[in-house]
């Protein structure tokens, strides 16, 4: 058996095909069970009471009226919440519990740090009774003046000096940016302002906690990360990890807000233990704005220095944003500027201010998405100043090596993306001059932007059980956010086993299964497909070992290295007439099934192991920089009298390495682009300055794009296999989908109107108003 490391597509295989979702039928018929949909016997319901103030202290909290309501089992407040073995509240340093993104746990003290902070959990025998009783908990507060954001007069902005959580937020300097800027022929400086964005997945945060024994709990939770949630919960509860089980079979979207464990899941679990019955807690839509983080409000200033020909000499990025009272968290916007274009001098720095908000979190391409606004709009401004075509200026600054490290790329199909995208869009016909192209009353603008996102390092395991009857069960603890993980992994397994997809069942979303990474950082498809592929290679190795020792096998006494796989058979390479189906082999051996396991690495680190696998000691190893790439082209039509902006055409061409399923992949790119159109044109959570409380915290007030906002979108992929990223050659597409999209829209609005709106979202008031220059 030689065929070990990298996946090769098989003839007639399904990998890459636009296969329909294997879970589609279950979803549209209501059979797919989401976290809140487990009808456990004796189920009870929890409701949260949240604070009406943003800063201060609870003077008194009285559950008496709530407790008098029929069906109410318990009211938990900071005065009686069961103790945790470890609480995540720490005011300094790193996270006490890694998977718990916010270093604060509500109901552990009487202090109020942010508006709508939970102050009580009410458990009752019905949802309605719990909700009603929560309203009856009487709370009095002592109010203090809150800080609303980094922009507030009473905010203290500071340099986190490398103390950031997750992203260290250190100042990064390459070359000599100040000197090169001073010496550069052309300079552009621009500041872009972004409001808070909320993920707003369709499915709210939801938990059912069920203690099966005093020291064993199963938590059905809408999480992108069952394994990480399991370990975080185990730490908080003081239980061995094995005694905490987290189950997430289906997710109605997450976009990053379900990556970490959040307080509501912990509260439900503690409440369930205390009442001795399973507890269900589903967040309301309003609570979704104050429970699972958000993309922080921020402003970023980019300074570009360039030659007269438009070659970049300097990129300087400064970001200021709001963080919470306990954590120092900010998306690292400056990072993408370090690799996107060839530029010898670079600097990035962050400043933050503490305010009375919960901790912000990862939202689709955290850092890269807003960071790409700075570089992609900034470059557009530079191109305009130099009277250069926006695509041309990008080609002039094309990075053949990673400018940040000097390393070669593992693969980079960006030039092909540019060329194909420009062709599909008809970019060559673009008028260089802004504000002059018309369609009747409307102004027409074309914009474009580059997309890129790292192939982040991750690893995970999978188990495959192949049955003698020709069926297979594939298992990992990965999750499917709704993106198609169920489907693409079934495709990979079917091809690698030589079985029809219908004979393969892929099970995920349960922490009792082999540990896989979270669905986040665009690593799921890459890591899970690779681990499943390697687990199946393990199965074939074991089958080969059985066959060559089985005197009745046609492969008896063959050298294992000479045995290859064809479909569901083992074949002797030197004499292909000698072959055997795995089912025949297993049956003869009296084995009902055979199991294999696979541990895959993806991103940095995979390469090193590969060299070891290949058994080439002494081979000089070149480290590679690993990124997905792509480009988005956008046409908008702007009504100059009414200020409305409509996206009328969209083309994305992406290099994401091997594409496992062009249909689900296309949906990812469309989804990311729509999210970008939303962030560019309409999304923003507004906050009252005096009360530090949101004023549009529901889906009537927070506008996400609806169908009528979105044109037919054209998406293509550059055929690519990247041998350096992982066994499957998959680079990941979930987040690169959004990078550059906001800028593509903003650049199109500029091209249409000749005005730069540098404050998002670009709503009619800004198109009409003096916000634009």
């Amino acid at each position: 058996m030689t065929d070990f490391s990298a996946f090769e597509p098989s003839k007639g295989g399904v990998v890459g095909q636009p296969v329909n979702r294997v879970d589609g039928h279950a979803k549209v018929t209501g059979q797919a069970q989401y976290a809140a949909e487990y009808a456990l016997p004796n189920l009870t319901y929890a409701a949260l009471k949240t604070s009406s103030i943003a800063k201060g202290r609870i003077k008194s909290i009285d559950p008496a009226a709530a407790l008098r309501e029929p069906g109410v089992l318990a009211v938990f407040t900071h005065e009686n919440l069961p103790k945790m073995a470890q609480t995540p509240n720490t005011l300094a340093g790193k996270y006490a519990i890694y998977g718990m993104h916010m270093a604060f746990m509500p109901l552990t003290g009487n202090e109020i740090f942010y508006s709508a902070q939970p102050v009580a959990v009410v458990v009752a025998d019905t949802f309605e009774r719990a909700t009603q009783a929560a309203a009856l908990v009487q709370v009095t507060y002592e109010q203090a003046r809150p800080v609303a954001s980094y922009q507030s007069a009473n905010a203290e902005v500071f340099d986190p000096n490398g103390q950031g959580y997750v992203f260290d937020l250190k100042k990064v300097v390459r070359g000599n940016p100040q000197a090169s800027l001073a010496a550069s022929a052309v300079q552009v400086k621009a500041t872009y302002v972004h409001p808070i964005n909320h993920h707003n997945p369709m499915e709210p945060g939801a938990t059912i906690a069920h203690w099966e024994a005093p020291d064993r709990v199963t938590v059905y939770d809408s999480t992108q990360a069952v394994a990480m949630s399991q370990s975080s919960l185990a730490t908080i509860l003081g239980l061995p990890q094995e005694q905490v089980r987290v189950v997430t079979k289906f997710i109605g979207g997450g976009f990053g807000c379900k990556f970490n464990l959040w307080p509501h899941t912990v509260l439900a679990t503690l409440a369930a233990k205390a009442v001795g019955r399973p507890v269900k807690l589903v967040l309301t839509r309003q609570q979704m704005f104050t429970s699972l983080g958000h993309r922080e409000d921020q402003e970023q200033t980019i300074t570009l220095g360039a030659t007269k020909e438009g070659k970049l000499t300097t990129l300087i990025h400064e970001k200021t944003s709001t963080t919470s009272p306990w954590d120092i968290f900010a998306e690292p916007n400056g990072a993408i500027l370090n690799w996107l274009y060839a530029c010898p001098n670079y600097q990035s720095s962050h400043r933050v201010a503490r305010a009375n908000v919960m901790t912000s979190t990862y939202m689709r391409a955290p850092g890269e998405s807003p960071g790409s606004v700075a570089i992609e709009c900034g470059l557009d401004e530079l191109a305009a100043k130099l009277n250069l075509d926006p695509l041309e200026i990008r080609l002039r600054n094309y990075a053949n090596l990673d400018p940040g490290t000097g390393q070669p790329w593992s693969s980079k199909g960006l030039k092909e993306c540019y060329a194909r995208g420009a062709e599909l869009f008809g970019w060559g016909k673009r008028n260089l001059q802004p504000g002059v192209t018309r369609d009747g009353r409307l102004l027409v603008g074309w914009g474009m932007a580059t997309a890129s996102y790292p192939v982040r390092p991750a690893q995970g395991r999978a188990r495959v059980r192949l049955y003698a009857d020709g069926h297979a069960l594939v298992q990992t603890s990965a999750t499917d956010l709704g993106t198609g993980t169920y489907t693409v992994i079934t495709q990979v397994a079917a091809d690698a086993l030589g079985l029809p997809m219908a004979n393969v069942r892929f099970e995920l979303g349960d922490s009792t299964l082999p540990t896989a990474p979270a669905s986040g950082s665009s690593v799921a498809a890459a890591t899970v497909s690779s681990s499943v592929y390697l687990a199946i290679q393990d199965v074939w190795q074991r089958l080969t070992a059985l066959a060559v020792r089985d005197s009745q096998s046609p492969l008896f006494k063959a050298l294992p290295a000479d045995v290859v796989r064809e479909q569901d058979q083992l074949v002797l390479r030197t004499n292909p007439s000698k072959r055997e189906k795995f089912s025949a082999l297993l049956q003869r051996q009296g084995l009902a099934d055979i199991e294999g396991v696979g541990n895959s690495k993806s991103g940095e680190g995979y390469e090193a192991d590969q060299i070891a696998f290949d058994n080439k000691p002494g081979t000089k190893q070149t480290k590679r920089s690993m990124y997905s790439f792509g480009v988005h082209f956008c046409e908008v039509k702007v009504d100059p009298d009414l200020g409305t902006v409509h996206v009328t055409r969209w083309v994305s061409v992406m290099d994401g390495g091997r594409i496992l399923n062009t249909k689900t992949a296309r949906s990812q790119i469309i989804g990311g682009s729509i999210m970008g159109i939303g962030a560019a044109l309409m999304e923003g959570t507004n906050r009252d300055e005096q009360y530090a409380r949101y004023t549009n915290a529901d889906l009537a007030g927070y506008h996400v794009p609806i169908n009528a906002d979105i044109p037919d979108m054209q998406v293509e992929f550059i055929d690519g296999h990247d041998p350096y990223v992982n066994a499957m050659g998959v680079k990941g597409i979930g987040e690169v989908a959004m990078v550059g999209t906001v800028a593509a829209v903003a650049n199109a609005v500029y091209h249409a109107t000749g005005k730069r709106v540098r404050s998002f979202p670009i709503v009619p008031s800004k198109v009409l108003g003096s916000d634009a220059v």
Partner: protein, 328 residues
């Protein structure tokens, strides 16, 4: 949401009697807005009297104009042949509102009584004069980006009616038929139905406690036949108006014989503009006339910090709507 009892009824008499028995109760029709306010504890009622089975339906031609039953659904009315033919602005105002699902449930009576979308009103944690009289109005110096610029007061600057239909009804002099707690009917022109906030923004209309909206009648007129409703918002659909205009023109040989102008999204109540109508009437149907009318319509505007753009936006919206009807 508080506990409440739910009582279906099938006659106006019975509904009104139930309301008399429990004055704190309320009627429920499509429930599309009542329940979402109850869910976040903005309003609390001990009893909901379901009026959906009442015979307040029918869209019929009468000598006074087209009579629309208060329990007709927004989608049915918006798509009705007679409405489309005689009152295009009314049809458009309905079909540009909310979402298809909401329009299928929502009734005409309920639509007229929907409440403000001011973010402070919609969250019980904030003070709000409209919700809790005397508690204050944080919108004056807060997030007033979407709020009104006409008819405002120091007590309230929100659109008491944030929707669309009433704007079109206002333009075309619709008359409401109401039935009070004693079973007596009265007819009230929509022009005097909504009340400016003044110092009492919690008083929103002239409906008496327990009074039912029975029907809406829209008189026939040439300017209604030649009308349009233009709505500008922050996304293409499923959003409230930043500014809207319901206009109707009777143009003969290039001269405007009669004109109707009402604005939405900019007034604390749906905003009829006699000033604009005066300029339009008898004038040539030109851009210059339209522009002058738009200037007049917004002359009294009093923007706050974040909604100054609405002056220009409303003017441009009005001009655009007038241009559209003038050329059809």
């Amino acid at each position: 949401m508080n506990n409440f009892t739910y009582t279906p009824t099938n006659s106006a008499k019975e509904a009104i009697r139930l309301r008399r028995e429990t004055p704190a109760a309320t009627y429920v029709a499509g429930a599309t807005t009542l329940l979402d306010m109850m869910k976040v504890n903005l309003v609390e009622y001990p009893q909901l009297i379901d009026i959906n089975a009442l015979p307040l339906t029918g869209i019929e031609q009468t000598t006074d104009g087209l009579r629309i039953g208060a329990l007709e659904r927004m989608s049915d009315v918006g798509e009705h042949r007679l409405v489309v033919a005689q009152y295009p602005a009314v049809s458009e105002s309905l079909l540009l509102a909310a979402s298809a699902q909401l329009r299928n449930m929502a009734s005409i009576g309920g639509n007229l009584l929907q409440r403000t979308r001011c973010g402070y009103f919609r969250d019980a944690a904030f003070p709000c004069n409209k919700r809790v009289p005397g508690s204050g109005c944080p919108a004056q110096h807060g997030d007033n980006h979407g709020l009104a610029i006409l008819g405002t007061s120091e007590a309230c600057i929100a659109q008491t009616y944030p929707g669309d239909l009433s704007v079109a009804l206002l333009a075309f002099d619709a008359v409401l038929t109401l039935e009070n707690a004693k079973g007596k009917q009265r007819r009230v022109p929509i022009t005097s139905f909504y009340v400016l906030p003044g110092q009492t923004p919690h008083q929103e209309n002239i409906l008496e406690p327990g009074e039912l909206i029975v029907a809406v009648t829209i008189p026939a007129a040439e300017h209604a036949r030649r009308s349009t409703y233009l709505k500008v918002r922050e996304r293409t659909s499923y959003a409230y108006a930043l500014a809207s205009a319901a206009v109707g023109l009777d143009v003969q040989a290039g001269t405007i014989r009669s004109a109707r102008v009402a604005l939405g999204g900019v007034g604390t109540i749906p905003w009829r503009s006699p000033e604009a109508e005066k300029i339009l009437t008898g004038a040539p149907a030109t851009d210059e006339t339209f522009r002058a009318a738009a200037t007049a319509a917004l002359r009294g505007a009093q923007p706050r910090e974040h909604n100054g753009y609405k002056v220009q936006l409303a003017q441009n919206t009005l001009v655009r709507a007038l241009q559209k009807v003038a050329t059809t």
